[in-house]
């Protein structure tokens, strides 16, 4: 063809690698090592995270109790003598405290356990929550009055910590809240079987407790608050997000305004979540005067935060549906709406569901915006979705708190027992997140269709 002299390349053996091939192979080997190292670092970080959380937090699912007979004499707990819970409620926890202390001392005497501690020191072994615990039992069941109650009574956080390895005899010497003598007595009681640990249901069901009684603190209110917020987010973000995506993807004319909206949605997804908190504070609480720290306001703020995520995921999965499916439907005389709802949306559903659940999981773990709308409050009352306490806006719900916010507020408290509680709360949060992600995978598998 060409007149240029054609130099025949020298014959090389296939068995000997030339320099270029060697270099390429080395580069590939290096890249594999980098990738493997990256994966290993990731796994190591995950293992360390799980180890630290589990080792700190698993103990919060067990709680130390002591059990001794408590004589509930009528003159102490029901001075009126008519077994009317309303009137019995006048005896406060301060009325129950000496009752418990005396019963505890009497129990030790009866069992012949020697101790040099006075009654105040003995009472300090019990949780500050213990009188409230007994009072609640009596008020719930007035027939207990006059009988002898044998119930599991919470012990103090330090005694509890002693059985979980957090508190030792040495640390007790330096601790103003517990003495070695108390620990020794607890040890004796534990050997006798009066004192022991059991699964801590109240960690999941009970409301938060004050900083002095970590042993009584639970996640009940936080779980309910988070659950209500997730309902609000799901009910608002999913339909709004999907409708917006379908409109933008399928119906909106391609012009500057649409481009502007698209750019801004992408930007919103990157806005720091605390900004949404400020927005929620300004709009929902200051302007619209919704109840502060109610799950509805929290849900609305999280909805605003989740919407961009859902819209982006939904649009991506709508775009992934092959255009031939749309043409096929249109070619048969389906309207645009029919082609979308009969064919495109079902095919995009797995992606939409995954995006929604990832958005929900993100919302479930979000703390910052909730701090600004008052959900960091200390809440003892179980919130109702429809508030009975607020007259102004009964539909706005009671004040509540949320799981990640509960973790945040527990890590702020001084008692070291709250480290355990916070880690336990993180475990609960992680379990919810794993459950939601598993649900996403399951739904994906279930609805995935191939074409």
């Amino acid at each position: 063809m060409s007149d240029l002299p054609f130099e025949k390349p020298p014959i090389r053996s296939l068995f000997a690698q030339d320099a270029r091939t060697k270099k390429r192979n080395r580069a590939e080997a290096r890249f594999r090592v980098y990738g493997l190292a990256a994966v290993c670092i990731g796994i190591l970080a995950l293992v360390m995270l799980l180890l630290s959380i589990l080792s700190n937090g698993l103990s919060s699912f067990r709680q130390t109790h002591v059990s001794f007979p408590i004589e509930l004499t009528a003159e102490r707990v029901d001075p009126e003598g008519n077994r009317n819970p309303g009137e019995m409620a006048r005896v406060t926890t301060f009325g129950y405290l000496p009752l418990l202390a005396e019963a505890f001392e009497a129990h030790l005497d009866a069992e012949g356990i020697e101790t040099e501690m006075d009654i105040r020191e003995l009472a300090a072994m019990l949780s500050e929550e213990a009188p409230a615990q007994v009072r609640a039992m009596v008020l719930a069941n007035p027939n207990l009055v006059g009988t002898t109650l044998e119930a599991n009574i919470l012990v103090g956080g330090r005694i509890d910590g002693f059985f979980k390895g957090r508190v030792t005899m040495e640390s007790a010497e330096r601790d103003r809240n517990v003495t070695p003598a108390q620990l020794e007595l607890a040890q004796i009681l534990a050997e006798r079987g009066d004192l022991g640990t059991s699964f801590n249901w109240s960690f999941i069901t009970a409301p938060d407790a004050s900083g002095q009684r970590p042993e009584a603190a639970g996640l009940g209110v936080a779980i309910i608050g988070s659950f209500y917020m997730m309902i609000v987010v799901l009910a608002l973000a999913l339909p709004i997000g999907v409708a917006a995506s379908i409109y933008l993807e399928e119906f909106a004319p391609k012009n500057r305004l649409t481009d502007l909206i698209e750019v801004n949605i992408s930007n919103l997804a990157a806005v720091p979540s605390i900004v949404f908190g400020i927005l929620g504070l300004a709009v929902f609480i200051n302007f619209m005067e919704f109840n502060q720290s109610s799950p509805l306001v929290g849900g609305l703020v999280l909805t605003l935060m989740t919407l961009p995520t859902i819209i982006i995921a939904t649009r991506a999965s709508l775009r992934a549906v092959p255009p031939s499916i749309r043409s096929a439907a249109l070619g048969l005389g389906a309207s645009k709406m029919q082609s979308i709802f009969h064919h495109v949306l079902p095919l995009a559903a797995p992606g939409i569901l995954t995006g929604t659940i990832i958005g929900l999981a993100q919302a479930l773990g979000e703390t910052a915006p909730l701090l600004l709308i008052g959900m960091v409050a200390f809440v003892r009352e179980y919130p109702d979705f429809v508030s009975v306490h607020s007259n102004a806006f009964p539909l706005m719900g009671d004040g509540a708190t949320a799981l990640p916010v509960q973790v945040y507020s527990w890590t702020q408290r001084s008692d070291p027992a709250f480290v355990e509680r916070a880690s336990g709360a993180i475990i609960v949060l992680l379990v919810f997140l794993i459950f939601m992600n598993a649900l996403a995978v399951m739904l994906r598998r279930r609805f995935e269709r191939r074409w």
Binding site: S324, A329, L330, G331, G333, A334
Partner: protein
Amino acid sequence: MNDMSQIDQGVSVGDIKMRARDVDVFYNAGAGRRSAEDLRQDASAVRAIKSVNVDINDKTVTAFIGPSGCGKSTFLRALNRMNDTIDGCRVTGEVTLEGEDIYDSKVDPVQLRAKVGMVFQKPNPFPKSIFDNVAYGPRIHGLAQSKSDLSDIVEKSLRRAAIWDEVKDRLDAPGTGLSGGQQQRLCIARAVATSPEVLLMDEPCSALDPIATAQVEELIDDLRSRYSVVIVTHSMQQAARVSQKTAFFHLGDLVEFDDTDKIFTNPSDERTESYITGRIG
């Protein structure tokens, strides 16, 4: 009668079903209704089809041939307003179906597409069962009064598309699980299920092997007894085999439109001759 009437004498063809007069198709035409003259002056608008006049006869297979990018698919899509779904695409001129202008503002493209069905280049069954694929059209147009009615329509359509014997035992199986040729015949069954008057086929055999192609071609010949079929094809042999009328497009112009026999044996235009003998295209 118009100037096209004389060519009707060669082969037996039905009455004129669709008539295209002075049709231009523009891309990048922007929004708003502008006149053909205005668009022709606009340098930014791409004139993909230039003043095309074609008559589509009933009970006839009309083939559109031409090199890639000559506009034959674009023109085909102008016949059932599938171009409406493309942004910036504008069709001017007049296209009538049985005397009614399909681009009239009163026409709903949805109703039009039920009458002018379409089969695409790549088989595109819905990821649903074979039955649901065929039943979809009748369902959305309310053609079946009862369940047994619907099964009748599905069976009839599948028989007409010559695929009934292969799928009658597995109507619940997904349509996407069929082979390429079967999928294309399923798409044809789906298109005929809505009882269209005209069936547009955009290179229906380009993704198929020779055996499946032969089956689909045989089917097209059968369909001619009931419908008016318009087929776009790259294969001149295919056009010669299945069609009675052939239109040759080149660079957006309709170069020649005549009886297939005449086009392939005695073309009147030089460009047609070059194309069918393989010198251009």
